[in-house]
Amino acid sequence: MTLSLEEKRNLLEGMLMIRRFDERAATLVDEGEVTGEVHQYIGQEAVAVGISSVIRKDDAITSNHRGHGHVLAKGGDVNLMMAELGGRTTGYCKGKGGSMHITSLDLGIYGTNGMVGQGVPIALGAAFANNFKGNDNVTITYFGEGASNEGAVHESMNMAAIWKLPLIFVCENNQYAVSFNAKDSTSVENIAERGKGYGIPSIVVDGMDVFAVREAAKEAVQRARNGEGPTLIECKTYRYFGHFAGEPHVLKKPYRTDEEIESHRQNDPIERLKRHLVEEGVDEVEFAEMEAKVHEIIEDGVVFMKESPRPTLEAALEDAYAVEHKTMPVKGWA
């Protein structure tokens, strides 16, 4: 693997952007600017950044409730994301989707998705369409280890395998589905075993190591582009904060210890890459400049959101149908 220093810097910046974005998103919940739940991606940044570093803009992804990282890594615009979180008309979905449903077909983002495991068959469909059209695009579907217990995920693995579709299953095993530990919810230690059960080449990688994720993804993408079918990449990772940002307010009794969390933080993907870059001669001044740049982009995004209009009441009745009919008084039904 020969990555230039510039490319490594980009990986670091990509991870920092996600971390700072999700830190800020949580404070916006506390400030009441963002309603509903925000599921922070913090701790898992190496996965989305590593994967996205080897795919193209015209490749597709589907994502889940913990999707800000996937979207940012795929080229998501901070302003439009912040505006969506803030329920503004300038957001990716005009404020109708919110944090869990950011979609941008232009960027190949076939949707983050609020229903666990349900983005996976949609990705299967995108991969099917690419195969049908005969192009060499690949599709990435991100899902958690919890989602790997959903029937839709299993059905999709089987279909991707029998039809050799250009689909890459990226399972982010952060060891918990809300409070439920994977050891107690899952019949095998590695979700990769499940891929093998469907005849899909499946590997386990250190999801806190952006280089490892990138290497695995590179191979999988190549296989998919060559028409050799799907791959499952299980990324062992960890989320540092609650299932959603407000978790401490509703869950008084923790389901994991501070020591456990701390032990994973020792493995932090951002710090690891920084140490690597220091060995390559990058100094603290550069890191500080990068932080400042990321900070500015995010704060600009917050300003953009706050200055953007909220939807008009009429908008609530728009966009459900591509074709409205004279006999369908969608507007005006109360």
Partner: protein, 327 residues
């Protein structure tokens, strides 16, 4: 004009759209073999690329349809048992039905789902005998239930072209029905009802195969001097309320006939709309002919007793006419 069977009209609609648009494909259980009778020989003509057998993964292949539709294809998903719908509900109503709205109008989902042989009467017992459309219209999904070969062909072609998800129910009791279909190409817009039999005393709004039963009843009662108007909405949502209201304004009497279970049925919705918007025209209470709130039993005598049919339609009409005569 050729006289063809309903099942042939369904197949012809799909073939014409597949000829017209290379992005149309059909997918489902046993479609290559043509088990439903509507895709026979298609694989020979269109290849395995466009006529695709799926594993038994109803939720998964429906989701595949959603993703493929988002990516610009026009999938026709065939569910060869009515109740397979229950396994697909998440992808159907929560994804296909909502994603356009949730993405602020960014994505169109031109997905067509066909429910083969909906309804009961085939001795298949409760788990294979439902007419599941009320669940989808409740969610604002576009739903079509053609009663005749002409309507089936025109509406299925339009459904495939529609840029929204459309679910088509093909009642099993319609598959053998024969009818005229023009040689020229045509489509029927969604949301347009058709008056299948004109009359002045009672309006009957019926769905699917029960339209044909209602027409038989209307012809029967004509001999007794009772004039029944049979309105076939054809599309349950969007619903052509104008045609229904106009008919009720003329007759003052309404019977709604629906193969669903009674509570929250299509019949209930039509009754509510008419009560809201044409109350002054009504000369008697609205009557619904539906299934009772029990599953469909197996044994033939009791199976038919819970399914709405000709006798019930006729006796319900007569009860209204009697009220009219007494009053």
């Amino acid at each position: 004009m050729a006289k063809i069977r309903y099942i042939q009209a369904v197949e012809a609609a799909m073939r014409e759209e597949m000829d017209r648009d290379p992005n149309v494909f059909v997918m489902g259980l046993d479609v290559e073999a043509g088990m439903s009778g509507t895709t026979v020989g298609m694989v020979k003509d269109y290849g395995k690329k466009r006529v695709i057998d799926t594993p038994l993964s109803e939720l998964g292949y429906t989701g595949l349809g959603v993703g493929a539709a988002m990516a610009g294809l026009r999938p026709i998903i065939e569910n060869d048992i009515n109740s397979l719908q229950y396994l697909t509900m998440e992808q159907l109503v929560n994804q296909a039905g909502k994603l356009r709205y949730m993405t602020g109008g960014q994505v169109n989902i031109p997905l067509t789902v066909r429910i083969v042989a909906s309804g009961g009467g085939g001795g298949m017992a409760a788990q294979h005998s439902d007419s599941t459309y009320a669940q989808l219209i409740h969610m604002g999904m576009k739903v079509v239930v053609p009663a005749t070969p002409y309507d089936a062909k025109g509406l299925i072609k339009q459904a495939i072209r529609e840029d929204d998800p459309v679910v088509i129910y093909e009642p099993g009791a319609c598959y053998g029905v024969r009818g005229e279909v023009p040689d020229e190409e045509y489509t029927i817009p969604l949301g347009e009802a058709d008056i299948k039999h004109e009359g002045t005393d009672v309006t009957v709004v019926a769905v699917g195969h029960l339209v044909n039963e209602a027409v038989k009843v209307a012809k029967n009662l004509e001999k007794e001097g009772i004039s029944v108007e049979v309105v076939d909405p054809r599309t349950l949502f969007p619903l052509d309320t104008d045609t229904i209201l106009k008919s009720v304004e003329k007759t003052g009497h309404l019977v709604v006939v629906d193969d669903g279970y009674r509570f929250c049925s299509f019949a209930s919705e039509v009754a509510a709309i008419v009560a809201d918007e044409a109350f002054e025209s009504l000369k008697a209470p609205i009557k619904r002919v539906t299934r009772p709130q029990v599953p469909v039993p197996y044994s033939k005598v009791i199976e038919m007793s819970v399914l709405p049919g000709k006798d019930q339609i006729q006796s319900t009409i007569l009860s209204l006419i009697k009220q009219k005569q007494n009053g």
